[in-house]
Each structure stands twice: as C-alpha cells, then as structure tokens.
Amino acid sequence: MTLTSFSTLTSTFSNNPIVDLQRIFQFPFMQHAYEAGTIVAIVAGIVGYFVVLRRSSFAAHALSHIGFSGAAAAVLIGINPVYGLLAFTSLGGLGIAALGRRAAQRDVQIGTVLAFMLGLGVLFLSLYAGGYAQEAYSILFGEVLGVSSSAVLLTLVAGAIILVLIAVVYRPLLFASLDEDVAEAKGMPVLLLGVIFMLLVAVATSFAVQVVGVLLIFALMVTPAATAQMLAKRPRQVIIISVIIALLATWLGLFIAFYTPYPVSFFICANVFVLYLLVRFAYPKIRPIRTAQILPDTHSAEET
C-alpha cells in the first residue's frame, strides 16, 4: 500500500466518531497501522525517558540517521529495510557507547559520522534502480500505512524484547543515568549499561522509523518524554505519561490522517508538538497554585 493509493481512499468525518473508528478498522492496512503504531509508541515512550534523562537526544537522532543508510543499503540489495536499520543502528549504538561516559555530549564526532552516513544513504538509493524518491520518502518520513502483518509481528517481538530488557535493567540504568559516579563506585557495570541503553535506542529507533521515519524520530522518542518530565517528578509516573502521550499522538494522528489527504507523520508530529507547547507554556500558569502551598514548608526548613 503506497501513499498515493491511500489518499484516494480518504473520506470525510461523520458526526459520530465511533462510526468513524469502525470504518477505519474495516481496512486491514489501518489495523496494521494501529497495531504497529501502538507498539512503537509504547516502546518509544519508555526508551525516550532514558534518552531525555541521559541527555542523549542527539545520539538518538544520530542513530536514526545512521539507520537511514542501513535502510537504503537494504533496499539496494533487496531485503526488508528494517534489517538494514537494525544492523546499522546497532553498530552505530555500540560505537557511540564505546566513546564512553560523556558520549551524549560528543556532538562534533557524532555529527561528523552522521553526515557521512546520510551521504552514504543517498548514494545507496541512487544506485537503486526502482523508485529512488518513493523509497527515500518512506524511510525519511515513515510509511505506517504500508506496514504488513508480518512487519507488525516482527515489531511486536522486538517491542517485547525491549520491554523485558528494560524491566531487567530498570533500576541500575536509572541509577547510572542519574548518578554515574556513585553507581560506578557501587560496582555497577556503567559501561555495559551504556551499551545496553544504546542498543535499546537502536532497536527502538529501527522500528519507530516505520511509523514516523528517520527525520521525525524525535516526535516519538524525545518529545513525549520531555513533555511528561514537565508534568511529573517520579520516573515511573513520567514513563507512564510519556507512553500515554506517544499513544494518543499516534492514534489521533492515524485517525485524522485517514479522513484527510495529508501524511500520518505530520499529524503525529503536530500532536506531540502542540501538547509540548501547551505543557511548556500554559501548564506553568496553572501550576503556581501548587508551588505556593509548598513554599511555607521550605521556608521553615531554611530556618531550622
């Protein structure tokens, strides 16, 4: 299912959203889109929290671009782009993790590799005989409406592995992300945790590309977690809110896109962006009521 064929299917909203939803789910490609979108949103919402906490958003951004050349290489040799993405992002993730402790801040080195990998991707796609523009478009901006049922299954398996792995490393990873020096002194394998984290980002990115594409990966990997972080102070709460934001943005994006001629990726990005703006600028205006209640408390603490 390509984008062009999708836009011919579009119809207008009825007065009843339930009916609208029912109509959407009559189409297998929309079912697959919702299934893949749901898995990706959950995984990206969770992994994104650690990306934000570790200040690794540039590294995550770079990984998706490194993935671009992987996907392009896969297209060139005629295999599923996801495998190319997985291979390249995993290697890239290992490389960034090997750079060591403050890898997230190594903008210049990571940026240099990023640019080269993008260039490599362009070369691979130009060598590909059939439909350069179409393939480039779907890798860069995502094509969730073209996800097959086997791709959904693969996404489900990868998503489950990521969630289990995060459940296992949750507390040490949180510790190492927040207070690396103490975690290291306590005997935690901080380097290994860094490697595991980058691999988690690599795999999550590879599958999220299906939904929002390489260029828009921030919409699901960073913005929901960054927004959630402004709303809560406990990691578990932040993660739950982050997942909810990613899910709502994806579901709503698919829903609106079905009834309009515009791409899904745009609506997902727009949803998280609007929410981010609301939380960033409107939420602090409501919040002072709560802060005022805390203030006398802190004041008395200063005096004792």
Binding site: L53, A167, V168, V169, Y170, R171, P172, L174, F175, A176, L178, D179, D181, V182, A183, E184, A185, K186, G187, M188, Q229, M230, A232, K233, R234, P235, V238, I294, D297, T298, S300, A301, T304
Partner: protein, 265 residues
C-alpha cells in the same frame, strides 16, 4: 573511644599511574569512628586517595587496605559522595528517588514491591534533616540542599565509612558551618568513620581527629596539632613555610600560594 580498631591502613603507598606518579611513600591509618580531613592544594591527589579506597584505581606500588582487605569496587561498607555538579533545572526528578537509588540502584528488575528501600530512604533523609526536600525536584535545590541529599544517598545503604569529596565547596560560610555540623552529627550518631576532602581546613578544626595532608607528591598524617605545624609542613612542601594561629585557633599558612586562612576561591 574504646579500642582502636584500624579500618584503613596504607604502607609505602605510591599512587597515580606508572608514568605519572601523583604521590609516593605514603603511610597512614584511620581508626574506626575517626573524623579525618584530607587536605592539600588543587591537583595534589586527594581524590586519587578516594579512588584507591573505592577500588576504582590500583596502587602503583605499596599496599592499601580497607577492612583488612585490598579495596574492591562495589564495597557495600563504603558510602561515597563524589565532588559534584549541580543538576540543571531541567532534571525534574524528586530527591527521594535519587536517595532510594542509593540502595535500590544495585538491584536488577523493576522492584515494584520494595517497601524496605522506601523506608531506608526516608530514614536517611530524616537523618540529614531533609525530609521536607524529599518531594522537591533535584533541579531546583541549592548547593547546600543538594549536599544533604547526596549525603542521604550515601547513608541509605548503611555504610561504615563515608568518603566525602569536597562537600563544602561552593557554600557560603554559614551554610558551610551548618553542613559540617550536620555531617559531624550523622557520623557520631551512626558511628561512621568519615574522610572528608576539603580546601579550607579552618571550619573543620573543631571536629577533626586526624589530618591527611597531601602536597608536593608526599603525604603527611597525624593529629591536627602534629601536622599543622611549621616544622611538619616545611618538610612536606620542601620550602620554609610558617603556620600562624589567630586567637580562635584558625590557622594561616605563610610561604605557599595556597594559604588556608584566606577565604578566596
């Protein structure tokens, strides 16, 4: 103080890296319950001593023992507060979570049922008088408040030795005094041995049992009365220095750039 039980002992200790020796031929010991200041100029190798004790770095030669064993990484008897950074304003995590990680961060899994960690964290926060900070975000705490949280994070696993790297830096004199009183109180009540790296020794003088003075590639150790003398420090620095005392017992060291009496940064 009862029996003198030796917790830390070093003999002929050479620290640093083979091509880059930081200090050599050090001999010192720390007994249970002692409050010890580790002082010396910037870059003298004070933090190196902590890294050796934590097992993060190996001695070039000589021996160092903690609890009669060679140091190893992850020793649960040591609580460590590294020299630190403050969290930037965007780190919106409540202090309680960091303190709890001091004990739960070593365990794998989600730990959804760990009630005990919660209690230890609350107790540690109470001990440092920071119960009211528990649910405030790390990003908005002041330097002094953060140091209390870091102290709670180190105490939460019930260590018997505390290694505090420059906890007093970036505090004004009043907060410095308050934090020091707090640290000393916690150390007494929990019967913990504490090593504290500091730049200025004067605020510490009322509490100290021992001084480890690191300078000029050498280490001098003893009680403050033994170490902080013109004779001892002249030998240590290798130049003639003079230790002056004011009427309150504060000292100033004349003859080196890094005089303790000066409050300048």
């Amino acid at each position: 103080m009862g029996e003198q039980y030796e917790i830390i002992a070093a003999e002929n200790l050479v620290a640093g890296y083979p091509g880059n020796i930081v200090w050599r031929e050090a001999k010192f010991s720390v007994n249970r319950g002692e409050f010890v200041a580790v002082i010396g100029p910037n870059g003298a190798g004070k933090t190196t001593l902590f890294r050796l004790l934590l097992g993060l770095q190996q001695p070039v030669s000589g021996t160092i023992k903690i609890f009669d064993e060679a140091p190893k990484r992850g020793n649960p008897q040591i609580g460590y507060v590294p020299q630190r950074h403050i969290f930037d304003g965007e780190t919106n995590i409540e202090s309680f979570e960091l303190v709890r990680l001091g004990v739960s961060g070593k365990h794998w899994g989600l730990g959804l049922l760990s009630k005990k960690d919660r209690e230890s964290a609350l107790n540690a926060l109470k001990d440092v008088g920071a119960t009211d900070l528990a649910h405030r975000s790390l990003g908005v705490l002041s330097g002094g408040e953060l140091q209390r949280i870091f102290l709670a994070e180190a105490l939460v696993s019930n260590p018997s030795v505390l290694l505090l790297d420059e906890p007093l830096s970036n505090l004004d004199m009043r907060r410095e005094r308050e934090l020091l009183q707090l640290i000393h109180g916690v150390v007494e009540s929990r019967n913990v041995t504490a090593l504290l790296i500091a730049h200025n020794i004067n605020p510490l003088l009322p509490y100290l049992d021992k001084v480890i003075y690191i300078a000029n590639g050498k280490v001098a150790t003893g009680t403050p009365q033994e170490v902080l003398t013109s004779e001892c420090l002249s030998v240590l620095f290798g130049v003639q220095v003079e230790v002056l005392r004011d009427s309150r017992g504060n000292i100033a060291i004349i003859g080196i750039d890094d005089c303790h009496g000066c409050q300048t940064e």
